[in-house]
């Protein structure tokens, strides 16, 4: 097994209730050998309303809560893992019900690949569109639309083609770039991990092949500019230690960098990583920074390079997905948490409309937010880490909404 450069890929499945998401994941795990014998035996002993004409109910692999098995639905995200020679995959099986959109968002937010299921008998639904819009909002690199249950329509090409052209038109409208559609049967595995020639008219390979062929592309724009958000500050004799992860770009000892909304210039004195002092650190590495100067830098502050600095303002334009039963209100005070930064903030405007002053559960809206102090941030397009945030209820600490910065 080649361990060098084996990468982590995160993918999620989404779709309507009963489109067969959990069965598809079960199928991927089953056919890739990631399910142990004792787990399989457990499955054969269990039964629920979703058991079809199969020996094993594969959805049992991911519906891990008692309530899910009793109701025969997925309520929360389940994380499952499998590996190939080149990648380790994390799959989030996300719920289909509208009322569990917050959990779908939780499972989807870090993913590189979205697998959106459509039941070929029902075609594209509101929920398909909604999940696709969330994938677009999250800027998921690749969207694979799995048109499932092809076995029930005798692998008919016309039905697939019709859904395919309808979806592609919609995908273009919402700005999804890398989209492919694949006809398959999660139940018997056709076109998931193998092909037995039932659909000679389809030439796009199996779902497994499409997943395997994906590798994440590093954005050029990101790599040219250094960012590190301070997670934690620890004291030392002279200047403090700043702990954080290099979000983008790289940093070297002796380099002049800037910090905070005032953009104060400082010099890197030491970089510590992996129990060692190192000369240079690049994106993704957790490091500890020490500066030549003695200055007061707090948790949440951003270190950055002169090239393409972050925006600094107390006004943010963003897209919000509201996730709480308590509606979002204009001028109500919330905590805004952006990475490790937490400040008080208010929503000032919803959808550019002075008359709207409330956001309901599961709505996705454009907002203007005002923070109590000036903060450093990026657009979500530029940086997922510094371009995303949550809103938190001041009284009960619940996460109310997720936002992406324009």
């Amino acid at each position: 097994m080649d361990m060098e450069n084996k990468k982590l890929i995160r993918l999620f499945t989404a779709g309507n209730v009963d489109d067969g998401k959990s069965t598809l994941i079960g199928r991927l795990l089953f056919d890739s050998g990631a399910i142990s014998t004792d787990i399989l035996l457990g499955l054969s002993e269990l039964k629920n309303s979703r058991t079809l004409h199969e020996n094993f109910d594969l959805s049992y692999l991911t519906d891990g809560l008692r309530a899910e098995r009793e109701q025969g639905i997925t309520i929360d995200v389940a994380y499952k893992y499998f590996s190939t020679d080149t990648h380790k995959y994390i799959i989030s099986d996300t719920p289909g019900h509208l009322e569990y959109t917050r959990n779908m968002f939780t499972g989807a937010s870090l993913c590189d690949i979205a697998i959106i299921l459509i039941d070929v008998n029902t075609g594209i639904t509101e929920q398909t569109k909604r999940h696709s819009k969330i994938a677009a909002l999250l800027q998921v690199s690749k969207v694979i639309v799995a048109v499932n249950k092809m076995d029930l329509i005798h692998y008919n090409q016309d039905v697939f083609d019709k859904i395919s052209s309808e979806y592609l038109t919609f995908a273009a409208e919402i700005g999804l770039v890398d989209v492919s559609l694949i006809p398959l049967s999660a139940l018997n595995g056709e076109q998931v991990t193998f092909v037995t020639g039932k659909m000679p008219w389809y030439h796009g390979g199996t779902l497994f092949e499409q997943i395997s062929n994906f590798s994440p592309i590093e954005k050029v724009i990101e790599s040219s500019s250094f960012r590190l958000q301070v997670q934690h500050v620890l004291p030392s004799n002279d200047s403090d230690f700043y702990l954080g992860e290099v979000v983008s770009g790289s940093v070297a000892v002796g380099q002049k960098i800037q910090v905070g909304v005032a953009g104060k210039f400082v010099t890197v004195d030491q970089i510590i990583s992996n129990f060692n002092a190192i000369d240079q650190a690049s994106a993704g590495m957790p490091i500890t920074l020490k500066l030549k100067e003695n200055c007061n830098v707090n948790r949440g502050s951003v270190f950055f390079s002169k090239v393409l600095p972050p925006s600094c303002s107390n006004k943010i334009k963003a897209t919000l997905c509201w996730m709480s039963k308590n509606s979002g209100l204009v001028d109500q005070e919330y905590f805004l948490q952006l990475g490790s930064l937490k400040v008080k903030a208010c929503i000032k405007k919803i959808n550019e409309d002075q008359k709207i002053n409330e956001i309901q559960l599961n709505e996705i809206v454009a907002v203007e937010i005002q923070t109590k102090e000036i903060i450093a941030f990026d657009s979500y397009l530029f940086s997922k880490e510094l371009g995303s945030f949550i809103l938190i209820d001041l009284s009960n600490n619940a996460t109310l909404a997720a936002g992406t910065i324009q």
């Binding site: 809560l65 917050r102 934690h232 702990l243 957790p286 500890t288 995303s388």
Partner: protein, 299 residues
Amino acid sequence: MMDFLDQLEAEAIYILRETAAQFQNPVLLFSGGKDSICLVHLAKKAFYPHKIPFSLLHIDTGHNFQEALDFRDVLVQDLNLKLFIRYVAEDMTANGLVDLDQKFPSRNTFQTISLLKAIELYDFDACIGGARRDEEKARAKERIFSHRNHQGKWLPESQGPEVWRILNGSILKGENMRVFPLSNWTEIDVWQYILRENILLPSLYFSHSRPCFQLGDGSLMYVNQFVKVDENDVIETRKVRYRTVGDMTCTAAIESDASTVSEVIEELIHARISERGATRIDDRISDAGMEDRKKEGYF
């Protein structure tokens, strides 16, 4: 270029640093098993050159393997950490509880009492644990920052969102956060990390000879003072190792010749039984055993 182990390590370090920053009094739950040993290694790395800013807490059932306890004491001394030990036996006595009259009298459910007691007594607001989502299906559902209410209960149906890498660690007084930095690691990832980082483990994890009797599923139970051996049990010395290290009453060994980390990895690549399935007798109680225990406040 970072490979997947670097990425998993970076994620765990990110979580540990968030925990240190967001909580007043976090503690690392230490069992002497490989996952919590890895956690300690990751914490060492996350805060180096500072020492680990957490104390350790061991919920001692009294049924531990001596090797695991010895390992724990050496590690605590080497790293100059504070270790809190809460003895399950003492809490059982205080609550008028006695051991189950069973062949394998597990104190698994009693551990929850001691854990919650320790949290209350020492005012821990966050407990860092080595649980992984690949271990068990209820755990596969759990957030990285997993909220416990003022009674220590997990409410799986009302978990809040946890989006991107943003960890919302705000809690009310009396509530508690369970933190799982190894959420996205699998058993084999942990072993590959142990190999790469040269992490020392208790000898229990490697092949050794031990008097055992065989259970129905072929796994092997060590003959010890807490397990009731009867005349049907055939005792013989076997070459075994442990895939997980829990209590002597509920952890079974597997037959193995693997005596190095590389050999263990090789063995696991070909294993057809899951980690807990191979070793944990207490998980076989019911289909929702873990979920039910977690709802009551278990690790």
